[in-house]
Amino acid sequence: MQLTNLIQLVSGGLAMGAIYVIVALGLYITHLTTHKVNFGQGDFLMVGTFVMLATRAAGLPLIVCVLLTLLVLAVMGWLLDRIAIRPLERKKTLKIGAFSWILTTAGIALIVQNVIEILFGKTSQYSPPLFSSQRDHVIQVMGAGLFLEEILIIFAAAIIVFMFYGFMFHTKWGKSIQAVAFNPEAAQLLGINMQLVKVGVFVLASILAAVGGILIGPLVTINPHMGLVFTIKALIVAAIGGFANPVGILVGGILFGVFESASNYIDSSFGDLYPLLAALLIIAIKPSGLFSERQADVR
């Protein structure tokens, strides 16, 4: 493998990895506070790509398209909490009890897929680039031809991840979320609105899925059933970080993206499966993820 190939692989891997990180952070933030995640997170990302596609096709300015996409997904996040998460809290006696949210959020995912399929058709489509004028604008970096779009997406993703950490650790909202995660009752006594935080994290998670969708649209072909694989990868990236360690998620996501890019290059037919299997193996050996302590279940 030549150096130029390597640079191309790493660049492509970084772009995808950064997007996995953003989507997985959505899972992390809801798991932190509610111990639940959206099993349709990838499908929400898919909706994001299609809203972008539709709004851009309508000729709206880019910034309006982005804001509209974020808004649509924010509303979907709110609806998700309202329809699939909150009603279950009153049903403690359910047989599968603790895990029925997996099936209700998956149910929403199926509905969302079907609606997009009806609106846009089953076939794969291309989303216009965000930053550069055409899809295959190539620039030269150290002798390797890289897609400008890819480079800019890496930068955009880096900024968003940075903003997320700033939000989580340096704002009042972020601290409320952590307080609820640490001890819901104490947080409530301190005047934090629990219900607001709980719905807030799902809205935030959906917005992160939207961001993932906006960024990934120009990199891949999009179709209504692309979501599942992103759900799986986001879950796995979050699990590598132990679902509780945002730094672990960052490292895990980037590693996953780069590994995937390399294994796709080496084996074009099954390459995308290797990182999945490797990650599953890691989780089997070290269920707490790469970076966090295992906690015993004491009930």
């Binding site: 047989k95 149910g107 399929e117 694989v229 999945l276 599953l280 989780i283 269920p287 279940d297």
Partner: protein, 602 residues
């Protein structure tokens, strides 16, 4: 077969199975369209897969979003060996089932180490990987184009080929349903339900959680695989499209719609699923919408599923869904004599607990520091201390949930270091939990039976059960006696959720005693109780003490501790600050300081 509640101890009629058998025998000979034979075959093999999923999800609480993967393993395993190697169908079907079971057991390795969310994620990913392999490994599977000409059953003299597959899959379903019902009715079902409630709880009654999880996971996968093998030989064609996540979802829908954790649920659910499939065949465009909506509506509005609704209906019509199980025991005179005899026997087995210099740190913070406690055989020993003193950590190290960083715990003369919760439970350590642990949704009696040691092996009772004879009679009698000892035998048929809090605590104690322990650990036995209920518990503990039980208890309520304990150890900030009789401890200045604080610079 269509009853919700297990009723193992009473004579049950077995007509339902016989009726099923007769209907199955005549069905293909009725003057009906061949399509209905085909449909019935589909019903049989789908229901087999759904029964597996119901045992996994409904009974054991283990989520699988990847059953389609195991179904595919079975289908390809059987199709390929029959097609390419020319194996006879019975052998290839067996092979496909075994391959799926092996695949399931491998994933079960994940199940051993993870739970809930992780398991859902892992099974989803594994199902996805298998789906992709089926699609892309064209040389082996034919991909989306599929495998053609898979051998099918051939006409046997006067029996046409479809009828042979019909009978085989039908008999397989009947057999699987019998096994599932037997699991539901007996010890296996109780253990799996305990795992569903909480794994630590299950381990604390001596259940080897990892092994049970792996076995039930492998079993569910084998059933999915068995379903897949029949599917492969039904029409002689298998395409990879059949095994997408959509199939996993469909099987889940059948399990959920039918009623999770019920016996008849999988059959009802499969019927409904096939109905839905036929219904949306015309409007395939909206298939996912229908699937998704059904999942939502059923989980939110009818979580008990069709079986639950049917039971409620029958109950409303004045028909009890099941014969009351205490009826069969009513003629016994419940004097609790057997329980008393058991307690006397336990007295002789009763032993001491020696905690020798154990410490535990959490990320640098010493939660427990060099604590030694000697609980003499037949004594009640209290462990007290202000909040955060490390009491729970100590009792969890004794029970084996945490391993101490240093020091050891001895049961009698046996060192418990390195032994897990279940092993300690089987060595004679029983416990109750701070936030009490019971199996909800089954009877009080079944909860006590969870603790009772089985007198026979798992398979031993199967024939008796099949013939409708009472089983586990000895165990049930002992459990009733223990309930009588605690004065709650009249509640044997109720479910725990129908009991007031105090009785639930008593029930938990009864279950612990049913384990025939050599020592008993009680974690805050009267937390959240009113004075009357607390008095009742104190009374019971007194009676257990009189019969020689060794008890280590953690409790906040001073009056209670002082009245029931022989000796008391006091913890503060992870260190032992006092030890002695209640009177000595009460007079200890350091204890008073720990509880009341010091006066300012006094």
């Amino acid at each position: 077969m269509f009853a919700n509640h297990p009723a193992a101890g009473v004579k049950r009629n077995r007509y339902v199975y016989l009726i099923g058998l007769v209907v199955m025998a005549v069905w293909p000979w009725l003057p009906i369209n061949g399509f209905y034979v085909f449909l019935a075959q589909t019903f049989f093999y789908t229901a087999i897969a759904v029964i597996g999923l119901n045992l996994l999800l409904g009974l054991s609480g283990q989520m699988s979003l990847g059953q389609a993967g195991f179904y595919a393993l079975g289908a390809y395993g059987s199709a390929l060996t029959a097609l390419k190697l020319g194996w006879p169908l019975p052998l290839s079907i067996l092979f496909g089932t075994v391959i799926a079971a092996v695949g399931g057991a491998l994933v079960g390795v994940f199940a051993l180490r993870t739970r809930g969310l992780y398991l859902a994620m892992t099974t989803l990913a594994v199902g996805y990987v298998l789906d992709i392999l089926a699609q892309r490994w064209v040389g082996l599977t034919g991909g989306t184009m599929g495998l053609m000409g898979i051998p099918q059953f051939e006409n046997m003299s006067w029996i046409p080929a479809p009828t042979i597959l019909f009978y085989l899959s039908g008999l397989a379903l009947l057999f699987v349903q019998l096994i599932a019902d037997y699991i539901n009715d007996t010890r296996a079902g109780r253990n799996l339900r305990a795992i569903r409630e909480s794994e630590v709880f299950a381990a604390s009654v001596g259940v080897n959680v990892s092994r049970w999880k792996a076995v039930i996971f492998g079993f569910a996968a084998a059933l999915a695989g068995l379903g897949g093998t029949f599917f492969a030989h039904q029409s002689g064609y298998v395409g990879s499209d059949a095994f997408s996540v959509r199939l996993s979802v469909a099987l889940l829908i059948a399990a959920v719609v039918g009623g999770l954790g019920t016996k008849s649920g999988p059959l009802l659910g499969t019927l409904i699923l096939l109905g839905i499939v036929e219904l949306i065949a015309g409007i395939d465009k909206y298939g996912l919408l229908v699937y998704g909506s059904i999942l939502l509506v059923v989980l939110l509005a009818f979580p008990k599923g069709a079986a639950g609704i049917l039971d409620d209906l029958l109950a409303k019509l004045g028909r009890k869904p099941d014969p009351s199980r205490s009826e069969s025991l009513a003629h016994h005179d419940l004097t609790a004599n057997q329980a008393k005899a058991m307690l006397t026997r336990l007295h002789n087995d009763s032993t001491s607990i020696s905690i020798k210099g154990i410490s535990k740190s959490y990320s640098g913070l010493k939660a427990v520091d060099q604590v030694s406690i000697e609980v003499a055989s037949g004594r009640v020993h209290g462990l007290i201390g202000p909040n955060g003193a490390g009491k729970s950590t100590v009792i969890n190290m004794v029970a084996g949930i945490y391993q101490p960083d240093e020091g050891s715990v001895y049961l009698g003369s046996e060192n418990l270091s390195g032994k897990d919760v279940a092993t300690r439970a089987r060595m004679g350590m029983a416990r109750t939990f701070q936030n009490l642990q019971l199996i909800e949704g089954v009877s009080v009696l079944d909860n006590v039976l969870l603790g009772v040691q089985s007198q026979h092996g798992l398979g031993r009772n199967f024939l008796k059960w099949l013939l409708g004879q009472p089983i586990e009679v000895g165990e049930r009698r002992l459990a009733m006696e223990i309930l009588a000892f605690f004065g709650i035998d009249h509640l044997a048929d109720r479910t725990p959720s129908e009991l007031p809090y105090g009785h639930r605590k008593l029930l938990e104690l009864a279950r612990a005693i049913a384990q025939q322990p050599r020592v008993l650990l009680l974690d805050e036995p009267i937390a959240g109780m009113n004075a009357q209920e607390a008095k009742e518990i104190a009374n019971v503990i007194q009676r257990l003490k009189d019969s020689g039980m060794t008890i280590l208890l953690v409790e906040h309520n001073m009056e209670f501790v002082m009245s029931v304990c022989d000796r008391i150890s006091v913890l503060n900030f992870g260190k032992l600050i006092a030890e002695g009789t209640p009177a000595e401890v009460q007079a200890d200045p350091e204890v008073i300081t720990a509880y009341l604080g010091t006066g300012a610079q006094s």
